[in-house]
Amino acid sequence: MNLTAKDLDFAYNSRPVLERISLMLNPGRLTVLIGPNGSGKSTLLRCLDGVLKPRQGCLFLEDQELSRLTARELARRIGYVPQNASPLTSTTVSEIVLLGRRPHLRFRISDQDRDKVAESLDALGLTGYSGRFFDELSGGEKQKVILARALAQETKILLLDEPTSNLDLRHQLEVLDLLTSLKKTRRLSLAVSLHDLNLAARYADDLVLLHQGRIAVAGPPEQVLTPDSLARVYGVRALVKPSDKGRLHIDVQATLQPEPEVEG
């Protein structure tokens, strides 16, 4: 299933946050959104999920307009993992993962729901954790539980807002490796926002570099991550060199003075 955005505009009250955003998420591909703080990554993900209504432009799921789907239909197709998704009440791991079944059930929990929860826990190596309380887990474990919740939702499109932000190096890799394998095995269309450019370069099939609410460059990593674009968007002087295994390595050397000017 693919998700297409055409000319999205979004504004909080009168302050424009996104302008003329067009992109496409495809099955089996991981799209990584990068850009400085406030460039619109989170807002874009929320628009793609339908949490926020764009002021202009359209969103299509295959060839169906997103706004024509009911909330439940949407929740069966698009999953979304917000940043720092921490439940407010004290709940167990299995209860949180079970929430992912909410778009599929009415009142009772069926055997199928139970199986899906078990399957999702298993996919993340969390089987032994099901009875544990969420707030007693470490940051990495919490992130995995939230991911398991999204998997149990069984959507073909999955949007994740900085899923690695609170994790140490090892857990960052683990989560991204996992997403990479899910994208292959389940043919998921994935969109993930990241801050770390080296991670982005390593895992992205497609990169979207956002700058002040617009797409500065989009495409394969080697097209997007150039010294020129990094200077323009982030205001840093950086070297980009291919390392072994053909990956890009970004070596940030200094900030450029002054900060980049506002365009347009």
Binding site: P87, T89, P103
Partner: protein
């Protein structure tokens, strides 16, 4: 694996709660000034069921017209207040709120005082003047708070703050009415404000029961939405919960439940705050079980409080509202100090 979701523990808890409430009913019906014990009451009930009318009129009157209506009213009212609290806490994702925080109680008090002091009849309700006024003003207060919150972005915080503000305004108006009231009217306002079940009648029970059952049904219908909201608003939204609609429906339900109950009983605070917590500590966080458990806890809590209140200082009756406030204040402090993880998010 299945063990983790098997509802047997929760169902056991519900059954146990029901048994406790039944036990309380027997105790409460056999406590009273006339000194009728459990045996007399049970035999009166049995004879009524089997249509063998060999009781003295006095026994029948005390059991069926005094004690039973009061016990039943305590159950229905307690369940109603607890359900309202569960709905509000669930939908505002804040375990420290209850309908009284949101201005409902102050609104009800204003409506009642208006009737008691000035004889203003908001609905043309005649005999049920105080009740109708309290109901209208309580609902009005909550709807006003909701409308105010809607003017800006209606986040859960703005609803709570708007409710507190509306509550203050109505409390001020109640004070004003008390100030200008004649002495005997002032007495009845003060008595109303304390909240009690002494004027329990079978008609009231019959009127409130369907309202409380409807509230129970609506909250059960919203159970999964409330569960999803517990994981945060954005998360709930992405799980297909129409958060605005859910919030409005739950708040309206809570408002009408509280308004209907306090209209008859006067202000009874803290049941709506305490019962959902106790229910959650028994059955966990799944609202499919929290909702009925909370109703049972509320029913038992108010019945126990009322029974204690009317037998503690023999032969004087204390208003049950005083009793629940005496219990509720310390409970609130307990939540604040020792159950931080429930409300610090």
């Amino acid at each position: 694996m299945n063990r983790n979701f098997s509802p047997s523990r929760q169902i056991f808890c519900l059954a146990a709660l029901m048994a406790v409430v039944m036990g309380l009913v027997f105790v409460a019906t056999s406590v009273g000034l006339s000194g009728f014990g459990l045996k007399t009451v049970i035999s009166a009930l049995w004879n009524w069921l089997t249509q063998a009318a060999n009781e003295s009129d006095l026994t029948r009157m005390i059991v069926f017209e005094l004690r039973l209506p009061r016990v039943l009213l305590a159950l229905v009212a307690g369940a109603g207040l607890a359900l309202a609290g569960t709905g509000v806490q669930g939908v505002l994702m804040n375990p420290l709120v209850s309908p009284s925080v949101l201005g409902v109680s102050a609104g009800a008090a204003f409506g009642a005082a208006l009737a008691l002091v000035l004889g203003v009849d908001l609905l043309g309700a005649g005999r049920y003047l105080v009740v109708a006024n309290a109901f209208v003003a309580a609902s009005g207060a909550m709807l006003l708070a909701y409308a105010l919150a809607r003017l800006r972005r209606s986040s859960r915080e703005t609803i709570i703050l708007a409710g507190i503000a509306v509550g203050y305004i109505f409390s001020g108006l109640v004070s004003l009415l008390q100030y200008i009231a004649r002495d005997e009217d002032l007495r009845s306002v003060v008595f109303w404000l304390m909240g009690s079940l002494w004027d329990a009648r079978m008609e009231t029970v019959i009127l409130l029961t369907p309202i409380v059952l409807a509230g129970l049904a609506i909250l059960l219908f919203l159970a999964w939405d409330l569960n999803a909201l517990g994981a945060g608003e954005e998360m709930a939204h992405s799980l297909g919960v129409r958060t605005g609609r859910t919030r409005l429906l739950a708040l309206l339900t809570a408002t009408f439940l509280t308004a209907s109950v306090v209209a008859f009983t006067g202000s009874i605070n803290f049941v709506g705050l305490m019962a959902p917590h106790m229910a959650r500590s028994l059955v966990g966080s799944d609202h499919r079980f929290v909702v009925p458990a909370s109703a049972l806890v509320g029913a038992g809590l108010l019945l126990a409080a009322d029974t204690v209140a009317r037998s503690l200082v023999w032969p004087v009756e204390m208003p049950v509202g005083v009793m629940t406030s005496l219990l509720g204040g310390p409970f609130f402090i307990y939540l604040l100090l020792w159950r931080k993880k429930d409300w610090l998010s």
